[in-house]
Amino acid sequence: MIQRMSHATIFVTNQNDALEFYRDKLGFRVHTDAMVGPDFRWLTMCTNDQPDFEIILMEPKPGMLMDEETSKTVRSLLDKGVLGAGVFNTNDCRGTYEEMKAKGVQFVSEPAERPYGVEAVFRDNSGNWFSLTQPTGES
């Protein structure tokens, strides 16, 4: 039986820029940053509270997993901002929203009461959108 999730991929337009964004604006830290051969960079990041869940920041480069057309398609999906990659939890949605906003993170929607808690929605610097949620009962 599956116990838990350990890795998930987020496609980003540029790994260096994504690293800076996730580290400096979201407060993540680098878990692993290693080159495998000349073209493949394995870059994963995690939150301090969940070091065993790695977010893989991957460029949709042509030539390995993707052909030229697929790569272009993924990039255009990123550019269009239609890819929603997940939900991050916080124990203070409004406070975190203010902090992130002050750092220049772009929000799609401000913190609002939902049936399951307080939620805001932001984008990373590649166009992926995420929910920033403070689940009911957490403060």
Binding site: M35, V36, G37, W42, M64
Partner: protein, 135 residues
């Protein structure tokens, strides 16, 4: 134009001979003998069929094997690799290796080790999906 089937079979026999005996000093006479062609006729036909000369094929085979040995865990010496894959002189091995691979044997080994260490941090499915097995 590609040689006929019978000729190709004979050429393949000679190529198999290289594959099996690349670690010995091989002459063109020895190789062409396996295909029952005169050496110049053989040379021309071989190049026509495989886009390289028998000598080039032999060198490639040796270099590939040398790369395998250099990547292996135990610390085999470059000199030993050189003789093990059939070269007679360290100088010609090193310069041919550099020409084919882009690095000196010792540098190649260091780089390969680094790549292996990195690879161990990446889940196997990514290695497969991103075609990194042979990197």
């Amino acid at each position: 134009m590609l040689p006929d089937i019978e000729t190709l079979e004979r050429l393949a026999r000679a190529r198999d001979f290289i594959d099996h005996c690349y670690d010995h000093p091989l002459s063109l006479d020895q190789i062409s003998e396996k295909a029952c062609f005169s050496r110049y006729h053989f040379l021309r036909l071989f190049r026509q069929a495989f886009n390289k000369t028998p000598h080039q094929y032999l060198i490639e085979r040796r270099i590939e094997r040398a790369k395998e040995l250099l990547r292996a865990e135990d610390d085999v010496r470059v000199t030993d690799v050189c003789f093990e894959v059939g070269f007679q002189s360290l100088g010609s091995f090193s310069s041919l290796f550099h020409k084919c691979v882009g690095h000196a044997p010792i540098t190649y080994r260091e780089k390969a080790r680094e790549t292996e260490a990195s690879k161990r941090q990446v889940p196997g499915c990514f290695i497969v999906m991103y075609k990194l097995e042979s990197v």
